[in-house]
Assembly symmetry: C2
Homo-oligomer: 195 residues x 2
Amino acid sequence: MLCYYISDINPAGPANASVILGAKRMTTTQTMSTSDPLTHDHDQCIARALDEAERLCAQRGVRLTPLRRRVLEEIWQHHEVVKAYDLIHRLSTEDHTVKPPTVYRALEFLLEQGLIHRIESQNGYIGCSHPALAHQCQLLICRGCGQVEELDDPALSEALQREAESHGFRVDQQIVEVRGLCPHCVPAGEEAPAR
Amino acid sequence: MLCYYISDINPAGPANASVILGAKRMTTTQTMSTSDPLTHDHDQCIARALDEAERLCAQRGVRLTPLRRRVLEEIWQHHEVVKAYDLIHRLSTEDHTVKPPTVYRALEFLLEQGLIHRIESQNGYIGCSHPALAHQCQLLICRGCGQVEELDDPALSEALQREAESHGFRVDQQIVEVRGLCPHCVPAGEEAPAR
DNA sequence: ATCAGAAATGTAATAACATAACATTTCGAT
DNA sequence: ATCGAAATGTTATGTTATTACATTTCTGAT
Ligand SMILES: [Zn+2]
Ligand SMILES: [Zn+2]
Ligand SMILES: [Zn+2]
Ligand SMILES: [Zn+2]
């Protein structure tokens, strides 16, 4: 499977179509990267995320059960926000309907282990790009294509932490989400206001 | 009405009880401030917020109808997160049940006019402290008492904006919410991890 | 290998949050 | 007074999440 940056949420115009057709599967060894979503090999992206999850859970002595692994795999199918009820539908078959608590419990586990992030402004979830270490991240959420890029800028999170502390506040968690248009959707969205 | 910083969400121990009893109504002229929630005159806080809303809506040629004003007034009853269904219940009487769309439409108007902020991580709302000018804010949300402090640090919002732009991202809106313990709830919560 | 407790999953019901669609009322300008 | 737009009322339904309890699976001790 290839990861298309321009999703069908935002039907691309002719200008973008050629870009999409230009996407190609890369077979050389490379690092996982969400910064070049048009060209990266997303099969490898998924495989790497699952391997890393297996490794971390083994290391931590927690169980990445088949169900939890399956939910994580579904979340990693693309770089867009995934909703809990999407997962319920995707995991259900004619034989067997998955019920909400099943999915919510798996999500709870994955959140606890830092394998996914919850996107508060969308009631959705996304795979974490750097699950080995706990971190505060900044999420860039494109309203055009729905893709999410995870930033992990310590300078930003530290600045916010300091600001909160300067008001006597003890920080548990930061929620930093930016809504807007990603580089590939800016042309299709609105042009820059300045002229 | 006085604004108690320690709410009944987090039953205060004896150490805090005296602090609560120490809260007093201030009658001197003062600026609205959420930075000293124990001592500020919250009646004046509400009145000022409503006056400001009247003024801004008149200036902008939009209508702060009785319903919208009433919803804003309820949101300003304290400095804690208010939920939409709280408002529905508070506005309903034995004679008349307020339906969800009524409240959600009022909230939509108040959000558009920048008179309230939505707190994404809580599905809740809070009165805006500086509604005259559009701004990106940072919200400090206490898990102890539920109170919310609004920060408006341009250095922070500009830093986040620059970071997003450096990734080619066009920013529409920033969502910055910090969960933790406010100065008055830190003692009652957990002690500092360092020793 | 067997058993007991803990962890995980299954299931039913319901709570909590939000919107769509359409009817009626109110407002403000002519 | 009349008309169109804006606001509100009403019904129904869609979406997200949790509670409570039953059953199954796993793990470690015997
Ligand atoms: Zn990918
Ligand atoms: Zn992450
Ligand atoms: Zn106040
Ligand atoms: Zn504000």
